[in-house]
Amino acid sequence: MSQTAALNTGETGKFDFLAKDYHAPNGTLLGFWLYLMSDCLIFAALFATYGVLSQSYAGGPTGGDVFDLPLVALNTAFLLFSSITYGFAMLQMQQKKLAGTMIWLAITGLLGLSFLAVELYEFYHMIHIGAGPQRSAFLSSFFTLVGTHGLHVTFGIIWLCTLLVQLSKHGLIAANRRRLFCLSMFWHFLDVIWIGVFTVVYLMGSMT
């Protein structure tokens, strides 16, 4: 009993669940966060693979030969701007402004599409000059890691378009607000992964 009393004072630590029982009002956001954490582990495995194989050129091109940093900087800017525009969509949602939410969501989607277009151009260009995924272990791991991130962005855009349709049909109902929160976490999470990609793959790779 005395232990319980000590716990209830909240002196045991910073985590709320140490001090009191927690019952999620709706488990969706926590569940989606747990999905993102498991997704993070997929990327951890892909980053580890890339880290191990990043020097295995098999006589082929190195990162310095094939990476176009101005293009990567442009892509990074697209993703960063799409993060802040999604933030603006969330602020509009908080003020219960449907039109504003949808406009900022659409701008976010366009920035995401621009990112994908540049990335596909980069992939096409690399495969065209003979630096495709089958050329070396370095390029295989590069295409797997960056391609998986691009695939996530693709699904994020599909989700975003679906949400736009749902918003136009039903407005800012509780279910749609929950979906907007989930996509917000997904979208910002992809930007966090991209920080690792442009730093470890492109910037460090182009110094070789």
Binding site: K14, F15, A44, A48, I195
Partner: protein
């Protein structure tokens, strides 16, 4: 009636975001992205090793900035379970990344000379 509205507001789950929070996060991210690109594209440091360490540091700080200002992470959201699962993931991330690099590096170093 006001009590009912108050109740409604609490049902509106998710973190409360602010314009200034997003702008601080965005400005910090722009700076933390621009400096690493400048360091690499401008060949600022003579040693690639030093450049790599510095840009990895910038990436770590920027990830923290995104976590706090964009993903609204704190010790209280979802009763602390968000942060606990994040810390657990960070431990697994560390083991996966550094464990793989460490083990595979030594495998390479200890390969039989004839096979190299």
């Amino acid at each position: 009636m006001s009590e009912h509205e108050h109740h409604d507001h609490h049902e509106d789950e998710g973190p409360h975001a602010s314009f200034s929070g997003y702008m601080i996060g965005f400005m910090a991210s722009v700076v933390l992205t621009a400096i690493p690109f400048w360091l690499v594209m401008g060949d600022v440091f003579a040693s690639p090793g030093a450049t790599a360490l510095v840009i990895l540091g910038f990436a770590a700080v920027q990830i923290l900035v995104h976590m706090i200002y964009f993903l609204h992470m704190n010790f209280h959201s979802e009763g602390g379970w968000n942060m606990l699962s994040l810390l657990f993931t960070a431990v697994l991330l560390f083991i996966t990344l550094f464990g793989s690099l460490w083990v595979m590096y030594h495998m390479n170093v200890n390969m039989m000379p004839g096979m190299m």
